[in-house]
């Protein structure tokens, strides 16, 4: 079976026009793939470009060259070439992204932040809210916070809202950027369970995880960012 994600020969640099057009190479010749039901952990020192790889897969960063091919439901899409609408459709239906920091809309309550991707996929709002509430409860987010906007939450609470939002829909491809960084042991264990459940459900997962215990618990393979870091 074709991998869900195939990255080949991807390179990326930033041209800093405000600094006299200096070009900052970030990575070169990134090549790896991720299969359904598999979790690949990206490791490497800070600044190696681990988060940048996730952003390129998600489409937040453009690529200078190479291919990022997502195969899902019979559709094969090269994200490097895909027009914005196609990337948006993939984000809605195929790719979940749990970023390090939650970028939430002011005034939108946590419950709706989590339920929103389900609603975008066509779920009824009430049903989406019920499922969102169950997910938040599982992540030990107190119910009294459900109706409040996450901007006022602690770092750990925000991260759990972010995880709930990313893990609730059945995305075929999950991008996790330090999903457990600011969680205590109990909640880390919940997140590990959730991730492994999604693996069993057939999701292809890429995770950046510093915590070696978590990494050992979820990762099937390791990709070392040092191999493709242009700074190296």
């Amino acid at each position: 079976m074709k991998p869900v994600l195939e990255i080949s020969g991807v390179s990326k640099s930033f041209t800093m026009h405000l600094q006299g057009g200096v070009s900052l190479p970030v990575m070169a010749d990134v090549t790896f793939d991720v299969r359904a039901g598999e979790c690949v952990a990206i490791v490497g020192p800070s600044g190696a470009g681990k988060s940048s790889v996730l952003k390129m897969i998600y489409g937040s960063y453009g690529c200078d060259s190479g291919r990022i091919v997502v195969t899902h439901g019979g559709e094969i899409t090269d994200l490097v070439q895909a027009p914005p609408r196609q990337i948006l459709a993939l984000r809605r239906e195929t790719i979940g992204y749990v970023s390090q920091f939650l970028r939430a809309v002011p005034r939108v309550p946590a419950l709706d932040v989590v339920a929103e991707p389900l609603v975008a996929l066509g779920a009824a709002r009430e049903e989406a809210r019920d499922r969102a509430a169950a997910m938040l409860t599982r992540l030990n987010v107190p119910q009294r916070l459900f109706g409040l906007p996450p901007a006022t939450f602690s770092g750990g609470e925000q991260q759990r809202v972010n995880i709930a939002r990313g893990l609730l829909p059945d995305y075929a491809l999950l991008l996790l950027d330090e999903p457990t960084a600011s969680l205590d042991a109990k909640n880390r264990a919940v997140v590990v369970d959730l991730i492994n459940a999604r693996k069993r459900g057939g999701a292809a997962i890429i995770a950046i995880v510093h915590d070696e215990d978590v990494r050992d618990a979820i990762a099937d393979r390791i990709v070392d960012a040092a191999h493709f870091s242009a700074a190296a």
């Binding site: 800093m16 489409g59 453009g62 914005p84 609408r85």
Partner: protein
């Protein structure tokens, strides 16, 4: 959703004011449910473009086509004035920075909302009033203010009233020109949240002209960056803002004050 047809299709739109360029060779497709932000500094041509697209001014070259409700794509230049007027008062909505462009300041809030309904043929006072009250609630204006005129409203309330007036006829496309310009930050947040919710709930398409990249990030799927009358960069909102290519875009992005 990926194979549906564009709602608004713009090709090679160019406008000169004498020897001064309004905009040059602007082209894009806006799809149903999609929000595009047009960003750039004052004088970059973004408001001009909005006026051209809504045919408040004639274009020198290019075409602007719109998907009518019957599914046909029509060149706006080929429509009669009457057909364009019907589009403007039913299928399109407008939110202006200056509320006095979009509202009749000496007509009650209910009358302002009702005007578009009455233009569309509504002739039952009770129904019109009930609909106006429903929309006031939806945009979070106390229904007790239904008979008050907008000149007694705060800036934020006026913007919310404009939104209600625009949406009451169930339009498919909203044009917004700096919808939160000149408002307090807290008031802005409330309006942006309201707009965002309405756009999602009603499946609206929108074109938002703004110089505020925060507004663009919050509301839009795609961004077009304009400079000196031309679109110099466009793409996914987060890609343009997080990985800007053009020197001017990088300057814009780096000019945001951290919150």
């Amino acid at each position: 959703m990926t194979d549906d047809a564009p709602l608004l299709s713009v090709r090679g739109v160019t406008k000169w004011y004498g020897r001064r360029l309004g905009c040059r060779d602007v082209g894009f497709d806006l799809y149903p449910g999609e929000v595009i932000a047009i960003v750039g500094e004052s004088g970059s041509g973004k408001s001009t473009l909005l006026r051209l697209l809504t045919r408040q001014a004639d274009i020198d070259a290019g075409t602007v086509s719109y998907r009518m409700r019957d599914g046909s794509l029509r060149d706006l230049s080929a429509l009669t004035d009457a057909e364009r007027a019907v589009l403007r008062r039913t299928d399109w909505g407008f939110v202006h920075q200056d509320a006095s462009f979009g509202l009749r300041m000496s007509v009650s809030a209910g009358g302002n909302i009702g005007e578009r309904l009455m233009s569309a043929g509504a002739r039952h006072y009770g129904d019109i009033r009930a609909e106006a009250a429903r929309w006031l609630a939806r945009v979070e204006i106390d229904q007790a203010r239904i008979d008050d005129t907008p000149d007694t409203f705060s800036g934020g309330m006026r913007q919310r009233l404009q939104i209600a007036c625009s949406l009451v006829t169930g339009p498919r496309l909203i044009f917004m020109d700096e919808p939160t310009g000149g408002l307090d930050v807290s008031v802005q947040a409330r309006i942006l949240d309201l707009l965002r919710g309405l756009v999602v709930d009603l499946g609206l398409s929108a074109l938002i002209v703004t110089h505020d990249l925060g507004v663009a990030r919050l509301l839009s799927h795609r961004i077009m960056v304009m400079k000196a009358g031309e679109v110099i960069e466009s793409g996914l909102t987060d890609r343009v803002l997080d990985d800007p290519r053009e020197p001017y875009t990088q300057l814009l992005v780096s000019s945001i004050l951290p919150a």
